[in-house]
């Protein structure tokens, strides 16, 4: 890890002093602008700026004016090169010293006359410096546990749905970007908790992030076929979309929009394709309109050990620079790091409010890994072998219930959510996923080693 914002002292310049030599000049002989131009050129050509960094000219010069050369040297000595310059240009520029005995001034002595160097032009109005609040980098994958579900009225849900839909249009147009851009855009659109927004969009198959969550990319539009009650084929739309795209789509079939529970993500869009139009015809016609659309790719569901082994290893992490808390199966408690396997929260030493990062430490491999927050918590519980890891499935209703405190890793939850296009509902301490087939439940329980 490279050091960021580590001040280092520059070389010791205490022996070098800056002082000023002063001269008088007549505007009739040399105008201040000309004086400045000539001396600037000489300084640059002779490479003397290390001795003579600045020149200050009297403000609002009239018939006669003063000007001062700042000299940097030890003990008020005139460096040889500067003496040569003064001698060569004496007749025109340096003929009249301000003080004939000891032409040597401190800045304070001449300041009322000349002010700062930038005051050589009297209309100067510096642009104010905007000191920005130092932002603490936070991982987009770091969450804190939350199952607060305050009731929302329908109007609020509609507004939230609309804002999320707009956000998906924006993501679709921008294509990809950094986490900071995602976070900032959420703020502009009034979408709270951008990390959760990011997660929900991933669960719905709309976007993908890099392993460390620092970059996102919207997925190309794709269709996932689901079981339909009538003869038409019904698909769920994932990935990019825009108003123009949806309007084009609408000319081939029927679109139905369904708000997510609580409106916390873009609405699910079902597309019903009439039986007389083949899927190939649809994709070809869309292509002709400039839109490429594919079937949602079949995903291999990894088993839990494979999932863990594929997580990104964090290099160069220095735990002693942070204040740590360790997950004990239920809560995070203050902890001094002693290389014990577990799920850790990292807090900045001087800021207490939110964890900056969350990582899992593996003692056997002496490695820190990063992954989605719920996934690492699930893995920690799984490792402790203490948390009755089970879920309840209703074949009759096609619903799956998972304890909120045992929420599954993102990759598994994504399969549940994408299969219906709808986020889970919250009921007391349980998450309820709908439209889940028996096959999917069986496969997931096997991969996660969970009893259903």
């Amino acid at each position: 890890m490279q050091s960021r914002r580590t001040p280092r002292n520059t070389q010791n310049r205490s022996q070098i002093q800056r002082w000023y030599m002063g001269f008088k000049q007549k505007t009739g002989k040399v105008k201040p602008t000309k004086l400045l131009e000539v001396i600037s050129r000489e300084i640059q050509t002779r490479n003397l700026s290390r001795y003579l960094p600045i020149m200050r000219i009297e403000k609002s010069p009239k018939g006669e004016y003063y000007f001062f050369l700042a000299i940097e040297s030890k003990g008020f000595e005139i460096p040889h090169e500067i003496a040569k310059l003064l001698k060569e240009l004496k007749d025109i520029y340096f003929k009249l010293p301000v003080d004939k005995t000891r032409n040597c001034f401190e800045l304070e002595q001449i300041k009322p006359m000349v002010g700062n160097a930038h005051d050589v032009t009297d209309y100067t109005n510096p642009i104010p410096y905007r000191s920005q609040t130092r932002t603490i980098s936070e991982s987009s994958l770091t969450l804190s546990d939350s199952n607060q579900t305050q009731p929302l009225d329908q109007e609020r849900i509609n507004n939230l749905s609309k804002n999320h839909e707009h956000f998906l249009y924006w993501l679709s147009a921008v294509g990809s970007g950094a986490w900071e851009l995602f976070r900032k855009t959420c703020e502009i659109l009034g979408l709270v908790e951008p990390k959760r927004v990011l997660r929900r969009l991933k669960l719905l198959g709309h976007i993908t992030t890099s392993g460390n969550g620092s970059k996102w990319q919207v997925n190309p539009p794709s269709l996932l076929e689901i079981q339909s009650e009538n003869g038409d084929r019904t698909f769920i739309l994932h990935g990019q979309r825009s108003i123009k795209f949806l309007n084009t789509f609408r000319t081939f079939g029927f679109l139905e929009t369904c708000n997510q529970p609580r409106g916390e993500a873009p609405p699910c869009i079902y597309f019903r394709l009439p039986s007389e139009i083949g899927y190939e015809t649809l994709t070809q016609r869309m292509q002709e309109q400039g839109y490429s659309i594919t079937l949602t790719p079949f995903r291999n569901i990894p088993d839990i050990a494979t999932w863990y082994s594929n997580l990104l290893v964090v290099q160069g992490l220095l735990p002693y620079k942070f204040r740590l808390k360790k997950f004990n199966g239920q809560d995070f408690i203050d902890y001094t790091f002693q290389r014990e396997t577990g799920f850790y929260q990292f807090f900045s030493q001087d800021i207490d409010s939110h964890p900056q990062y969350t990582f899992f430490y593996d003692q056997d491999s002496d490695q820190w890994v990063q992954g989605d927050w719920y996934g690492l918590r699930f893995w920690a519980i799984y490792q402790m072998n203490q948390g009755n890891l089970c879920a309840y499935y209703s074949e009759e209703n096609n619903t799956l219930c998972v304890l909120f405190s045992h929420r599954w890793a993102e990759v598994y939850e994504t399969h549940l959510v994408m299969s219906s296009g709808v986020l889970p509902r919250y009921e007391s301490d349980t998450l309820i996923y709908q439209g889940i087939s028996t096959d999917l439940v069986n496969e997931l329980s096997q991969k996660l080693n969970i009893s259903i």
Partner: protein, 552 residues
């Protein structure tokens, strides 16, 4: 065979293709540019030179008897380009052929234009067809205004403007576009030869070297060097002259009209800086595109890997590879495959890099060497330790400011590195003339090039649509070294002012835009003007983009 329309389109491409948005555009057409533009045509030149071909074709199009007929080139073509650009180009060509210190007045200028168009001298200052009717503006001015409007709509900054004096009011349009005249280029080549400058410097480094020879130039070139507003395009024009000279083997017998010009076989790179959430900093190679030239299917060989060069945005390819300290410290040359059109990518050796926030996504946290810092913009400087004294001097004089105290710098590339960064750096003042630095190059790079600029911030922007969502328009800040600025906000036709009064400078302001559409913001301060276009769109105008691959 080429025709007027071919040249018109090719000139537009040459000056705007691969040029980043918000760039000042100078229609600085000269013989070298015409040779390069001609080289892009699919067939060989049928005249002695492409310049001769161009003059012949434009003359045939616009000259009717002994009169110039601008009706033949009015309006826009099927691509939406103004038809008059090739004619405006020939007007600039005439300005470029003026002698080093030739007095700029109508008679001198139109003498040159007549020569190019083979028009007889009828004793009048202006040729037939360009005469000014009572109470009307010069006939060609409409074409210049049309070109300026077109540039603004494309997101560029026009630079052609009328002069202040009576004799230069109209001729200033073409003369303002002429950067390096033929005589200036010859003078520069003499300097390159005498100084044996065969190191492949980048634009900034070369500009400083050239400016140091100031006393050897004639009036026109001196005035160009002194004009900070033209710093970037001038540095680019000098660099192109330098590359042409290098491309011809840097021989000393290329002065004069017989020289041949070709596209450079080198691409240049800047650097691209990202930082992950742990504060780890990475620099990548950021290849620049060649202006006006399309290059396809190139790959760059970097540290044993091969990276395809794919467009990131106008002017730039996507960043490639990861740069290590040695590469940045020493500068590096990378091979390009296939090497039929270009053969090398050069990362110049520099003592510092000025890195500005992504102009399309300022919130992305990405910084790169996209451009010089704009007024009021905060940037990062990556520098060798030896330059820190200069930077501290600039800060002591309230010319720049950065995050933390004056000692605050952050080491990069590990503990034994002599490279550092300073953050949230900002230029505060314009009075840099009285300050002398060891690195003149640093001063050239940081000293502001304008006294007034319009900055748009906030709002919800869709870069691909070049617009903001109507419900979330940007705030407007006029940065200036004066407490107040005159601002006018109007629709694109300029016939409906939404706001027009004096506003405090350096303060973000919100305007109530009445509808979607294009709006012009004009700021005026102490005789200097600046303008920006704001396009406001509906959600229905936002369409999907093709994605790049997700990295990292």
């Amino acid at each position: 065979m080429t025709n007027y329309s071919d040249w018109n389109t090719a000139i537009v491409h040459y000056f705007t293709q691969n040029v980043p948005y918000s760039t000042k555009i100078y229609l600085s057409l000269d013989d070298d540019a015409l040779t390069k533009i001609g080289a892009n045509f699919a067939h060989d030149c049928t005249d002695n030179s492409w310049a001769e071909n161009f003059c012949e074709i434009v003359s045939r199009k616009v000259v009717n008897g002994e009169k110039i007929d601008l009706d033949t080139i009015s309006g826009h073509d099927s691509l939406g380009y103004p038809r008059g650009i090739a004619f405006l180009g020939i007007m600039v060509l005439a300005a470029n052929q003026m002698a080093e210190d030739e007095q700029i007045d109508q008679r001198n200028y139109f003498k040159r234009l007549r020569q190019i168009l083979n028009l007889p001298d009828d004793g009048q200052p202006r040729p037939k067809g360009l005469k000014i009717e009572l109470n009307e503006e010069a006939p060609e001015v409409q074409l210049w205004k049309q070109w300026n409007r077109w540039l603004i709509r494309q997101g560029f900054i026009p630079t052609a403007q009328e002069g202040f004096g009576k004799t230069t009011k109209n001729t200033n349009y073409p003369i303002s576009q002429s950067l390096l005249r033929n005589a200036d280029k010859d003078r520069l080549r003499r300097i390159f030869i005498e100084m044996h400058w065969q190191t492949r410097w980048d634009e900034q480094t070369l500009f400083t070297k050239v400016a140091n020879e100031y006393s050897r130039y004639a009036h026109h070139l001196r005035s160009l060097i002194d004009d900070r507003q033209r710093y970037e395009p001038l540095a680019q024009a000098i660099h192109e002259t330098y590359l042409d000279w290098l491309e011809c083997g840097s021989a000393n017998n290329l002065i004069g009209e017989s020289r041949q010009r070709a596209w450079s076989r080198q691409l240049y790179a800047g650097i691209y800086r990202t930082e992950d959430f742990l504060g780890n900093i990475e620099y990548s190679l950021y290849p620049k595109q060649q202006r006006g030239r399309s290059l396809d299917s190139l790959e760059v060989q970097c540290n044993g890997n091969s990276y395809p060069l794919r467009e990131d945005r106008a002017g730039w390819y996507l960043p490639v590879g990861i740069l290590f300290r040695q590469e940045i410290s020493e500068g590096t040359t990378y091979q390009i495959k296939p090497d039929t059109q270009v053969e090398k990518l050069i990362l110049p050796r520099r003592d510092f890099w000025v890195l500005v926030p992504d102009p399309d996504n300022p919130e992305s946290g990405v910084y790169a060497s996209w451009s010089s810092p704009k007024l009021g913009e905060q940037f990062i400087i990556l520098f060798r330790e030896s330059l820190f004294t200069d930077l501290q001097r600039l800060r002591d004089e309230n010319l720049i400011q950065w995050e933390g105290d004056r000692e605050n710098k952050c080491q990069v590339f590990g503990d034994n590195s002599n490279w550092y960064e300073i953050y949230q750096c900002q230029v505060l003042s314009q009075a840099w003339d009285g300050v002398f630095l060891q690195s003149q190059e640093l001063k050239d790079a940081l000293q502001p090039t304008t006294k007034l600029s319009i900055s748009l911030s906030g709002g919800l922007r869709v870069a691909s649509s070049k617009g903001w969502i109507f419900d979330y328009p940007p705030q407007v800040t006029a940065f200036a070294f004066h407490p107040s600025v005159e601002i006018e906000v109007s629709n694109i036709q300029g016939n409906s002012a939404i706001a027009q009064k004096s506003y405090p400078s350096n303060t973000p302001m919100s305007f109530n835009f009445p509808s979607v559409g294009e709006f012009m913001i004009r700021a005026n301060c102490l005789g200097e003007t600046s303008q920006r276009l704001i396009k406001l769109i509906n959600w229905g105008d936002v369409d999907m983009a093709l994605q790049n691959q997700l990295g990292g």
